[in-house]
């Protein structure tokens, strides 16, 4: 019994972090229909920024988080302007953008690898290795903090989208781009800003990732399929769906890891992705197949 609760807690803690990692991906897909395969590589870029800030100047990862988010958001704007804006009217938009994000992921990986080598890194603030004990059950402090911060950020995002004027414009563009344009929404600005927010979220997630996981430039290939599974299960473009999916899959993966074997824990995500695409491509919360 204790082991079951322990596994559940570890799964939930990871779920919080993955939820933040996936939410930016989901936002970008929702607004622009871009499947951003470069998202995980940008998370790693955020993790490196946090790692060096901690290592060189002793800046706490949680303090560095907004800075990493802003740096990455700026990179997002640049990326959008340079690469994706001109594709907006392409006939094969969805395929083209997937290939472009794929190439972007390689550029980011290559650049990070060239600068920082392929050594495994992890940021180690004191809380990263601590744990809180409740009876025999332990909660790793690092993962707990990361999970809480991640949920706070996602809640802020949800409030922004629901209640602010610009947030409404983003949601409107997601649901019906043409109609939003007709009502006076500057769709191009919405796209740039959503892309910036999405990549900024990758930066924020990177700060958390930097002390929860060890990372190296090529690690993103592992995450790309993991994050895709969350976003696809949640229904592409639905941020709430992504959050729920990430808790679900992380808990399942934790149990698979504990009872079947650590190797098969990541396999959970890949198999889930495969099955969802085939059985219910619209995901749990999507109403119609959006990815077709």
């Amino acid at each position: 019994m204790e082991q079951i609760i322990q596994t559940l807690i570890l799964g939930l803690a990871l779920g919080g972090v993955f939820a933040l990692m996936g939410s930016g991906l989901s936002l970008v897909f929702g607004v622009m229909r871009i499947v951003n395969l470069a998202h995980p590589s940008l998370i790693i870029a955020g993790a490196y920024a946090t790692y060096w800030a901690f290592k060189l100047w002793g800046i706490d990862p949680l303090v560095m988080l907004p800075v990493a988010a802003i740096i990455l958001a700026a990179i997002g704007v640049l990326l959008y302007k340079l690469v994706f804006e001109r594709e907006a009217r392409s006939a094969k938009y969805s395929e083209m953008t997937v290939l472009l994000t794929f190439a972007t992921a390689m550029i980011v990986e290559g650049a990070l690898g060239g600068m920082f080598t392929n050594t495994q890194r992890v940021t180690s603030p004191s809380y990263a290795t601590d744990a809180i004990f409740i009876g025999n059950i332990f909660i790793p402090t690092g993962q707990l903090y990361a999970g809480i911060v991640s949920l706070l950020i996602i809640s802020a995002l949800a409030l922004f989208l629901k209640y602010s004027r610009f947030g409404n414009a983003i949601r409107a563009t997601t649901q019906n781009r043409e109609a939003a344009e007709l009502l006076g929404v500057n769709v191009n600005l919405v796209c740039i800003m959503s892309f910036a927010i999405g990549i900024g979220l990758a930066g924020a997630a990177g700060s958390l990732v930097s002390f929860v996981f060890s990372f190296f430039p090529a690690k993103h290939w592992e995450w790309v399929a993991v994050l895709m599974s969350l976003v696809v299960l949640g229904g592409m473009g639905s941020i709430l769906g992504t959050v729920i999916a990430s808790f679900m899959l992380c808990v399942v993966a934790a149990f698979v890891g504990a009872y079947v074997g650590a190797t098969w824990s990541t396999m959970t995500f890949f198999l889930a992705l495969f099955l969802i695409l085939l059985i219910r491509p619209q995901g749990l919360f999507g109403e119609k197949p959006e990815l077709a």
């Binding site: 019906n176 043409e178 344009e181 007709l182 009502l183």
Partner: protein, 242 residues
């Protein structure tokens, strides 16, 4: 005084494709319901899209109150007072009715009156008040069309253009939609609608326009257009329509 809307020898099309409109023209009567009819592919929807700025004007001109709309973006044209409701009603299915109405006022520079304007609209269309917190996508077709039309009123437009408002609605509901249009017209809003069901549209309109092969073939009072034997034969489904 310049015409409210004056479309002259307009040529337009999609992307680099062929011209769908090829020398169309149109003038409108302020405060009247205009119905544009014509066979599939005649360029009816294209005409509305070119007026509202969704398509580039290749040749000719569209003048609104004497001012050319050439090269303006849809949001700029909206701010001048022309509202367009496209075929699929342009609602946001996963936003509430109230949020949809609020998006209708997105282009307003002055937001102070927005909530009150929405309240007034809810007053006029009680169904929208009843459903205010419901997602727009969960309403019936007629209710969605009502919402789409009501939403245009928020910006107090001079012209409202509707692309096939009757699509997918039961005949009884369609009549209700036309009644709403007539009320809007009586308040001084010029209505420009495209109808596939030509007879139905003309019966409810003041002015009829026949478009085919991208050009305006006829225009005149709806009753006269309906009565013309040539139009009856070619566009209103032959003699039985008379």
């Amino acid at each position: 005084m310049p015409e409210l809307l004056d479309v002259s020898s307009l040529t337009a099309g999609y992307g680099d494709g062929p011209a769908i409109l090829d020398g169309a023209h149109l003038t409108v009567q302020p405060g009247k319901v205009h119905c544009i009819i014509g066979p599939n592919g005649a360029g009816k929807s294209t005409l509305l899209k070119a007026i509202c700025g969704m398509l580039k004007i290749r040749k000719g001109d569209v003048k609104f109150k004497g001012e050319s709309l050439k090269g303006l973006r849809p949001d700029q044209i909206l701010r001048k007072g022309i509202c367009f409701v496209p075929q699929e009603r342009a609602l946001f299915p996963k936003m509430t009715v109230r949020e949809n109405l609020r998006m209708g006022g997105y282009s307003l520079a002055d937001k102070s009156g927005l909530e009150r304007a929405i309240d007034e609209i809810e007053e006029r269309f009680p169904i929208l008040r009843e459903r205010r917190d419901q997602h727009a996508g969960t309403m019936s077709g007629g209710q969605q069309q009502t919402l789409a039309m009501a939403r245009t009123l928020i910006v107090k437009p001079d012209i409202v253009m509707l692309d096939e408002p009757s699509l997918g609605l039961a005949p009884k509901i369609v009549q209700e939609m036309f009644d709403i249009m007539k009320v809007m017209a009586s308040e001084g809003i010029t209505i420009l609608l495209v109808e596939q069901n030509a007879l139905m549209g003309l019966k409810n309109a003041d002015w009829g326009v026949v478009l085919d092969l991208g050009r305006t073939l006829f225009e005149g009072p709806a009753a006269e257009v309906m009565a013309d034997p040539r139009i009856q034969e070619l566009y209103l489904g032959g003699k039985k329509a008379a």
